[in-house]
Symmetry: C2
Subunit: 462 residues, 2 copies
């Protein structure tokens, strides 16, 4: 019995899967400031047209260009691994498979879309990409992709991370990206914020606004902006994860997993792993598909399906998604990649359609799961990934109680080697759990009051 | 053409290779303080008898217990990879293969022996292992192994690293090791040093002395000491690297590589990758086998083959090896794993027998090579590994000049994700090169003057 199930290069998926083609109801369109659906051309100052085409596409399968595969071959196909040591420890009849996305150069699933986005930008004649990053996972993935493809990369990094967590910044420098602290004096919005709050630690919302402004104001027309999650084309690029996993499961005789699990912040690793199985579920397969989010940022489990802005400064179109409200200020917890106020529209609509069964966990339970993982499987996972592992352990123990030989698949979205301060805080007893109080929820959702609402669908679910 | 050449679990080597069986002259024995060869029982307070047996063995093949393989399967067999992106960049006819040892949980080749040593200690009834660590690569590997196998682990970490580089310490905590700064007040030797030099940054020599004292003075007899390099049994455990690589090269039709390269500090990753090919060379194969060391610590390239102590405090037996002298204080440079004053006796004797062609490189050249690697292959290598890559680039360019399709194999000993401060120092222009001046060499080798000398061998080479 091999613990690693490996595809050869020739077996890599040649097309991405687009869930928008298969959702029971059509995906709700993004709206402009006037409340009317935006047209693709309204996005052209921000994104190249070939990516906008993917963003609005309802084509089920979209070809992956050979040149993109040639870059992904640095680490893809990624191994599907069986967590036999954890299985033994839990003494469960369940078989636990995980798709190991930690093997990419920056150590997470993020480069799957960073490479694709950089490549399409380059094809479109773009020379420079701007983006924002919190703790640096996404910024380093885009830095890597831009370096390989030959684009300039500018990363606005939230100041507090820039100052306190220099390692991701060093990583970006290795790949020649220009990483600066946000708010910065390089944009009008940054200057405004600095004037009002010179000592602000910054926020992802501010950094997004700076990155968009910086792209849009380049009068040469050779700069565009890139986002690492949330958008449809990002989910699309990530489906290579689940498509590979499906082939690998078949290699060990698993026609379909019983349970698919992924952590969910903006939704990209979850979607990447799960959407090919959501496709099967829509077509009748019996699969529990579980996005796991932090209790401190309970988008899918506590918020409503609404129209909201993607950023704090309300510069983006309105997206139909679960959202705590764009004014949401997440409490400090270590899974930096799971602190987004909203959720990818595709993940949101799959949830509202009843295809997904989201749940939330507190961070201490997740760190416990991460420690169990490190002491059985041996590897140190990212704090984000620990949310998926906590759910996997629960499901494996449930299978044991029920005496069922379930096949569980989860997405191991990244390693935690750049996140060891979080482990130290947990091990030193410095972490506490935080449940978003209802009155805080109400305060943040106040900003949604005057925004349009998605129409009710036929099933009456939303 | 697959860029990853993968063995299945069933193809993992079932025996380690012991070069001591094949060296043209018998390996020179370690000597006691009286200048006479030590007997195995003199080592029993420090190491368990099963490991001492391996240390003195001249048996060519030694079985790897199935229980050890079951632990190694977490990441082994390790991939053999082809560096096609670097090949393209260099436009070389050479084929560059590398054995990727960065895929272990702590990120280097070190767990290959950490797991074996922990397992043999456990078999022998030992309950606790002590060791020292510099920057933390070895300490974290032993912490991992002890956790998986169920042993207590105590790591004496050089104080300056303990204070300035907390991430490896955090990693050790994840695996429950007790990591303390050395010098400590837990040993007599530590207390003595602290009394004399309360502000000392510590050194590997002091930490070794503390770890040995701590093991030996445990009156229950249930504690032993463990060393991560230099010793024969360590080299033995690492040969799984080269044995796997040999099978993988055959899978792509390479009967033998033309060149084998590894960085060399104490010698363990180099030996692990190279010794199975040294075996072939002894049996007539034409292979250039190149250990690469830093110019700032030029053991094989500038020092003599002598008898010297393994530690600064002269507590160990005398080993026949290349040595700069146990009083050697290495200058500060970032490849922490390459700062040892001596070299593994097996690597030393293979060198003196003319089987190896050592060379040395300055650190700036090595960081340049690391950056070239990061911008072509995409991955960030350990500063130690960059020495091997620098030599690979030189050899690939030489093959281009000569128009020869050479097959180059090297050991990718670890990733550099925990070493990004070194990259930052390089990128900020803060690094300088350092050539050990002759008068410094003379000063350090002074301490070797009154020690016994290895006998001349038949070939007259030493």
């Amino acid at each position: 019995m091999d613990r690693k199930i490996l595809l050869s290069e020739s077996d890599i998926p040649k097309q991405w899967y687009n869930l928008a083609a298969d959702l029971p109801s059509p995906l709700q369109p993004p709206l402009g400031p006037d409340g009317k659906p935006i047209t693709p051309d309204m996005l052209t100052p921000v994104f190249p047209e070939n990516l906008i085409e993917q963003e609005v596409s309802t084509q089920r399968w979209i070809d992956i260009p050979e040149e993109i595969l040639d870059i992904l071959y640095r680490w893809r196909p990624a191994p599907l691994r069986r967590a036999v040591y954890l299985e033994r420890y839990l003494d469960t009849p369940a078989k636990i498979y995980y798709k190991d996305e930690s093997t990419s150069p920056p150590g997470s699933h993020k480069p799957n879309t960073a490479v694709a986005q950089a490549w399409y930008n380059k094809q479109f004649g773009i020379e420079k990409i701007t983006t924002e990053t919190g703790a640096g996972q996404w910024g380093s993935a885009l830095a890597f992709a831009c370096k390989i493809i030959g684009l300039e990369c500018k990363v606005f990094m939230v100041r507090i991370s820039f100052d306190q967590k220099p390692f991701r910044k060093f990583m970006m420098s290795v790949w020649d990206a220009n990483c600066i602290a946000s708010p910065s004096s390089e944009t009008e919005f940054g200057k405004k914020i600095l004037a009002e709050m010179p000592d602000t630690p910054g926020s992802l919302g501010i950094a997004i606004s700076e990155a968009v402004e910086s792209a849009v104001k380049d009068t040469t027309g050779k700069t565009r902006y890139s986002l690492g999650s949330v958008l449809n084309h990002v989910m699309l690029h990530q489906t290579i994860i689940g498509l590979e996993a499906k082939k690998q499961l078949k290699m060990v005789g698993v026609d379909k997993p019983d349970i698919v699990i992924g952590c969910a912040g903006g939704g990209s690793n979850f979607a990447g792993c799960a959407f090919p199985f959501v496709h099967d579920k829509i077509n009748g397969a019996d699969i529990d598909i579980i996005p796991v989010e932090p209790s401190a940022c309970p988008t899918l489990t506590k918020a409503d399906f609404v129209y909201d802005y993607g950023d704090t400064a309300c510069m983006t179109p309105l997206l139909a998604m679960y959202s705590l409200g764009h004014a949401f200020v997440p409490p400090p917890f270590h899974a930096g990649g799971l602190r987004y106020h909203g959720m990818a529209p595709l993940v949101s609509q799959a949830t509202v359609e009843g295809l997904l069964a989201p749940r939330s966990y507190h961070q201490i339970k997740c760190y416990e799961a991460a420690l169990t993982w490190a002491k059985t499987e041996g590897f140190i996972c990212a704090p984000e990934t620990s949310h998926a592992i906590a759910a996997v352990i629960d499901e494996a123990l449930k299978a044991k109680e029920e005496g069922k030989e379930k096949n569980i698949l989860f997405c191991y979205s990244g390693h935690g080697l750049m996140d060891l301060t979080g482990y130290d805080a947990y091990l030193s007893g410095k972490l506490t759990d935080y449940e978003l109080p209802d009155e805080e929820m109400d305060k943040y959702s106040e900003c949604l009051k005057d925004l349009p609402k998605p129409p009710k669908n036929k099933s009456g679910k939303w």
